[in-house]
Symmetry: D2
Subunit: 149 residues, 4 copies
């Protein structure tokens, strides 16, 4: 019985899966994707997540906020090459802070191997350009909707 209660209060995992074909222009002279492009893949993942869960740039913007990136980390395990398809798995990291945190896993679709992992942290900035240290109301509502509070 207790178990059931616990299950009810557990936060579900919010995740998006997005495929992108590697572009010729993204591959460097070593014939692998240049490492800087992974930051764009993370952004592609965040956008797809935002579209799926209603937390996109436009959603945030219409509530009067922007959410600049304050930190990004990327670790590379294996290269991606032209012709490969990358699978970007974007996972929301629940946190009590006034931040939006995502973890990323990028897989090679063909080999199913993990090629990179990463993380981005965003903060809330209001229309005056001020950093917001408490959760904006719309974000509390969003967290409630998705059982992340």
């Amino acid at each position: 019985m207790k178990k059931k209660k616990v299950v009810l209060t557990e936060t579900p995992i919010l995740q998006n899966r997005k495929e992108i074909a590697i572009r010729f222009s993204e591959v460097d002279s070593l014939k692998v994707v240049w490492h800087g492009h992974y930051i764009r893949y993370f952004e592609d993942g965040r956008e797809a997540f935002g579209n799926q869960y209603g937390l996109g740039y436009m959603d945030v913007h219409q509530h009067g906020y922007v959410t600049p990136i304050v930190k990004s980390v990327c670790e590379h395990k294996l290269p991606l090459r032209y012709g490969d398809t990358a699978v970007i798995v974007t996972e929301y990291v629940n946190s009590p802070a006034a931040k939006i945190i995502f973890k990323f896993k990028i897989y090679n679709k063909q080999t199913e191997k993990l090629v990179a992992t990463g993380e981005t942290i965003q903060v809330f900035v209001d229309q005056k350009g001020e950093l917001v240290l408490t959760l904006p109301e719309f974000y509390i509502a969003w967290k409630q909707k998705w059982k992340q509070l």
Copy 2:
């Protein structure tokens, strides 16, 4: 004698010369600069020209205009490689139209060979977002200053 008079009324050639070192991230899997990056080299050239002659993005903006690109052309003669230095020569093309036209020549500094030529055409858009079909006053003044009228 007539010749002398003609010379006096000729429009001087306005030209900027800018060097840029090729970046590793700009080179593709064929070990040459990916063709799309030349558009940025042209922008580097335009900016250097704007700084030299007082026709930069900021100069135009403070007079209430933006000057979006409506056409760009790039022709490639030879490749550029990592380690090369590109010399971008940006030349103002005098025209009676309400347009800013530049011609570009990109040279390989080491070999002194011409590697690419190009052209961009910009129009004037005012603060209402409307295309402006007559020369803005500030631009007439600029052309007078540099004897392009």
Copy 3:
């Protein structure tokens, strides 16, 4: 009757249609797609065409050729903004020369308006790095298959 014969010998139009969502990172401080990114959209169009008709980078490469861009042209009619979807229509231009020529039309999917047109010209370079002035055999075969000869 004659008409029928004529129809039989006409070259069919080879065309690909590819949709891409505008990325946040592609939009500049004027809130429109920076003009240089259209060159990548053209490349996306060429790749989609290549995949559909068997004339991709890899297809060409396995026959011992690369096909560098020697000219690109882009004309802008209207801006694209974040949130828009671009429709890239890539059309093969039949030519007797040892060149691959494409024409591009980019539409705003939502408004159905034409936002840009363009063209790219590619040449054939063999494994020695030499420009090839006659049609490579594999390309003749490709043209025959698609009735472009």
Copy 4:
């Protein structure tokens, strides 16, 4: 006297300082440099360091190695805007591992404020594409030359 001995065995700090003007195309719709471009600024810093100390891509390559990035971190403190000049300070992090580690500090030249910090880690991969777990000889020689051993 002891102090003097200590000084003799201390590793000197290897540092490069490189200025870059922010490009129009690097600024996003919020009028600040898009976060992904900092990865290129770090690469600009690494290249300038490599040129200064003889540890550039070409130096490494001629000894039969490539040094792919396996991790990058970037933390943003303040935005950079069009018109700003960024000062990239690249510092070599001495480590016993078969890795090349750099720390970066990016300053706004005008305000002299720190706008971003970062780190990249590179590994050695030999001509067979194998990860090298011991210090390559040329790298030992390089470390000796610069008193980093």
